[in-house]
């Protein structure tokens, strides 16, 4: 029960951070919260395979180099190396999450950002 309450709190924060629904639109906020909770609790995704995630990250770095974006590849590799010192059991999951949300980094990432 405590777990669910904590999860509901985090989902509410997520809805507020990602959408631009005005706080007065309580109905819409509740609908988003319920739909997000459903998506999180009832899904058919497998557990993260950390080796697969590592392979994907290496592949991405290689891709950056192949298309001539060496500075991006270097920056990416540096951050991954820095993360090694802070690795815990959730790190592969977080990286999997970031890979899922990545949006054509080879074409669209601007290093100045």
């Amino acid at each position: 029960m405590a777990y669910l309450a904590q999860l509901v709190g985090l989902v509410e924060e997520l809805v507020e951070a990602v959408t631009v629904i005005p706080p007065t639109d309580r109905k819409k906020t509740l609908a988003c919260r319920e739909s997000a909770l459903r998506g999180i609790r009832h899904h058919s995704y497998l557990r993260t395979n950390q080796f697969e995630v590592d392979d994907q990250l290496k592949g991405l770095e290689e891709r950056f180099r192949v298309i001539g974006r060496d500075p991006l590849a270097d920056a990416f590799s540096q951050r991954l190396d820095a993360l090694e010192g802070h690795r815990n059991k959730y790190t592969p999951d977080v990286l999997r999450f970031l890979l899922e949300l990545s949006d054509q980094p080879a074409q669209n990432t601007k290093l100045g950002d």
Partner: protein, 82 residues
């Protein structure tokens, strides 16, 4: 109970990890701000599946875009009436 110094060190380490992950998310062009990323990391640490969470974030973004478009349309209709 951990000593206060221990806690501060752990908090700093966690902070640094979030900083690095935010930089990685920027390099991957994930369109995540630091606050959203921190919430998502907390959710993953609470056992939420990362792929399911990513799907939820994408869905919420779509909802947000629909809402923003509706708000813009309503604003332009009001402006035209005046």
């Amino acid at each position: 109970m951990p000593a206060p110094d221990d806690r501060t060190e752990k908090q700093q380490a966690a902070q640094q990890a979030v900083d690095i992950l935010h930089e990685i998310s920027t390099l991957l062009n994930c369109h995540l701000d630091r606050r959203t990323l921190s919430i998502c990391i907390s959710m993953i640490e609470n056992g939420v599946n990362p792929e399911a969470l990513a799907a939820v974030v994408k869905e919420l973004r779509k909802e947000g875009q629909i809402d923003a478009a509706a708000a813009a349309a309503a604003a332009s209709t009001t402006a035209r009436r005046r």
